[in-house]
């Protein structure tokens, strides 16, 4: 048994090859080996959503995925959203005052981006359901949900 393997994956559009121990999660790999620390580790058991990434098109908890499982996967982290600038969604978070301590926000933004990809014009119920896997310990839910709604009702476009 090697206990280590080399995997290839696409992260935010860039092909990466990484040698990882068997015990390492996707989240740990992205943070410690790729140096992208936007995705947060909080509960480590799939309850809080702070580690949310988009893997092969679907939002998932990266703390529950072994790095080895991500071999061949296409991944988007918070660093890959907006392509250097801010998306309309992120701007709406700022305008709505949806960010308090900020720790949950990367996961919220990734989960909300995935939701808008699936449902471009969501109802409040859709937003609440779509973000039900993301906890905000500041309790900022109403502004967070309002930010997602206003990002689609504002009407202007992403740059």
């Amino acid at each position: 048994m090697s206990g280590e393997s080399t995997i290839g994956l696409t992260v935010n559009g860039t092909r990466r090859s990484v040698t990882v121990p068997s015990s390492m999660t996707l989240l740990e790999m992205v943070r410690s080996r790729l140096g992208m620390t936007g995705s947060k580790e909080c509960c480590s058991e799939g309850e809080c959503g702070a580690c949310t990434m988009i893997v092969d098109g679907e939002p998932v908890n990266s703390c529950l995925i072994l790095a080895g499982e991500a071999d061949g996967a296409v991944i988007t982290t918070i660093e890959g959203i907006g392509n250097g600038g801010m998306t309309r969604l992120q701007a709406s978070f700022l305008e709505a005052g949806a960010v308090q301590c900020g720790f949950c926000i990367p996961g919220m933004v990734v989960a909300a981006s995935a939701l808008l990809e699936r449902i471009p014009d969501p109802t409040m119920t859709d937003v609440q359901e779509g973000l039900s896997g993301n906890l905000c310990r500041c309790g900022g839910y109403s502004r967070i949900c309002a930010a997602v709604i206003s990002s689609v009702t504002r009407g202007d476009t992403d740059d």
Partner: protein, 276 residues
């Protein structure tokens, strides 16, 4: 967290061989397994990932009179599948409340059953719909009713090296009605305190699946006529043994079980009338 080794076999025979190792555990979605490894309820493990095993299906397909759900199918696929939502709305409802969006994108139906939680969200619907499982080990296979699958919390009849390759549900030949109920402390990311599904047929036969009211998910049958009386309800629920835990007290569980059993029956009868 200790994972001794991570393996991703591409064939069932290879998977079976790897799973003979006493440290080996099968990984499907990982939403329960990874938590168990982290909490050390599963020891240092050789993780055998089944996601690349072709013999374990990744499709939902109508095969003659059954709906066959492959062992790799995740909850979010199930929730959005037309035949599931039309013919088995209680199963779709149950799958739609598992964990969260993120969890449903990884968690498999088969994994939910293999984890054998007494509160397994999809078990009551599958039990009420008389689901069967196809199990395989190397080149031998067997089909068992789901009602024979669970042995206790976390324990199933799976032998060492054996995996669930598919879950099959008979497609009803005539109209049926179903009702689903789930009591939780909060809407998202919670385990059920009580969950149940009722399926009624035009004959009056009523089949129930219950979760979180015994050491395993349970199945029980009665008739619409018998369930009109307290005695009939007592008899239906006689196999349940609700306990107190951090989610609910035994008395509350028992009370909710009775109330929601009646409500699910009423909902199932209304759906049956609407579809007849």
């Amino acid at each position: 967290m200790t994972v001794l080794d991570y393996r991703r076999p591409s064939s069932l025979s290879e998977a079976t061989e790897l799973l003979q190792d006493t440290d080996a555990v099968a990984l499907a979605g990982g939403t329960d397994l990874m938590v168990a490894i982290r909490h050390r309820t599963v020891g240092p493990a050789v993780v055998v990932d089944l996601k690349s095993v072709d013999d374990i299906g990744d499709d939902i397909a109508v095969e003659e009179d059954r709906l066959v759900i492959g062992g790799r199918v995740v909850m979010s696929r199930l929730v959005s599948h037309d035949v599931v939502t039309e013919q088995f709305p209680a199963l779709a409802s149950a799958a739609s409340v598992v964990g969260s969006v993120q969890i449903r994108n990884r968690a498999t139906l088969a994994g939910n059953l293999c984890n054998a939680s007494p509160a397994a969200d999809t078990a009551p619907a599958l039990l009420a719909h008389s689901a069967t499982l196809t199990l395989a080990s190397g080149d031998s296979g067997r089909t068992v009713p789901l009602s024979d699958f669970f042995l206790g919390p976390g324990a199933t009849i799976l032998n060492q090296g054996e995996v669930v390759t598919s879950v099959a549900v008979p497609i009803p030949t005539g109209p049926i009605g179903s009702g689903f109920a789930r009591v939780t402390r909060r809407r998202g990311v919670d385990l059920a305190s009580v969950s149940l599904v009722c399926v009624v047929e035009p004959s009056g036969r009523a089949r129930f699946g219950f979760g979180a009211v015994g050491p395993t998910p349970l199945v029980a049958e009665s008739t619409v006529e018998d369930l009109a009386t307290d005695d009939g309800l007592d008899h239906l629920l006689s196999g349940t043994t609700p306990i107190s835990d951090l989610r609910a007290g035994a008395d509350y569980r028992s009370a909710m079980l009775r109330v929601h059993t009646r409500r699910a029956l009423v909902a199932a009868m209304a759906q049956l009338r609407a579809r007849s």
